[in-house]
Point group: C2
Chain length 190, copies 2
């Protein structure tokens, strides 16, 4: 998506440690006109795929998932994140390692909100190692839900997550894929 690449080049900032800061428009602060365009593009990509539910993980995925849900008229479900493995009630759960915070989180979703009748589009802001996506895929599989695919705003193509998800046979549409990144230059996959 050209608009996403332009926005990253205009407002993104590469920090030490391979961190891409997009706080001015995608997380922390959200540019709503931009978000509306992003959601319309995701809706266009998955038009006709029978999507009846949007699944994301708290907290930075919620804004984009909400906009996509509004664009596709599909309910949005967000998996909750807990630092303990104490899971109560009737939930599906999976363990997800966070590289950002270097901890394991248990993510979970109530069995009421994810079922075998669902055709799910998994949405998130960033895709790097792909641990969050793999956890959300695991929740869908536990529920017996169909997975229409995944869509992330920004993929770090130099990490393996996106390609690993694609190798699982799951459609994965990232709106911008960064293949190389340093202090002075960002190279997108063409």
């Amino acid at each position: 998506m050209q608009l996403m690449e332009e926005k990253i080049l205009a407002e993104g900032e590469v920090l030490p440690g391979g961190i891409l800061k997009v706080g001015s428009f995608l997380n922390q602060q959200i540019d709503v006109a931009f978000l509306r365009s992003v959601a319309a593009e995701v809706a266009r990509l998955f038009d006709g795929c029978g999507v009846n539910k949007i699944l994301t993980i708290e907290s930075s995925g919620i804004a984009i998932a909400t906009a996509v849900g509004l664009a596709m008229n599909a309910p949005v479900v967000f998996a909750k994140k807990h630092k303990t493995s104490n899971v109560d009630g009737d939930v599906y759960s999976a363990t997800v390692h966070s590289f950002t915070h270097n901890i394991d989180n248990t993510i979970m979703v109530s069995k009421d909100y994810l079922t075998e009748k669902d055709c799910v589009l998994i949405v998130d802001d960033f895709l790097a190692a792909g641990n969050a996506l793999k956890g959300l895929i695991a929740l869908c599989r536990q529920a017996g839900a169909k997975i229409a695919g995944c869509s992330c705003a920004i993929e770090k193509g130099f990490q393996k997550g996106g390609d690993e998800v694609r190798a699982m046979g799951i459609r994965c549409e990232s709106l911008a894929i960064i293949d190389e990144m340093n202090d002075t230059d960002i190279k997108f996959r063409s």
Copy 2:
């Protein structure tokens, strides 16, 4: 807002300990047609007030704040929550006690995204003791931003938070105010 009260009566569930479960439409799972109506109502209430920024706190406020931002064409900023008081960089911060988890969180927002030029509408899903709102109000005051008001989806009127915020001279519009609640009955403020 009649629609909010009807939805609470139809799908809300009162759990032991004074907890109102609205996971089927407001948090955990989001009914997007309902969310669109809620956002339109908040936009109507604050129309003409010069709002140029929506402020919320992660994570359950993000969905409603995003919808309000889209409805009002105003950028959305969400304060981040941390369990430690180690705050780095140029941020405004405040301490917020969470009764749900019985811990103190430090909430913070970058000084880049909240300034004295802003006229802020503070949005959240639940208003009970009002600690989250008071923390967000403190961040606005540190930034020298004007506060147009606060709007929450559901207020527990039998707790003091909403009335305390109003006593501070801040407009506080809750879409439904619950004055009494038990296993069999929910009474709204008229």
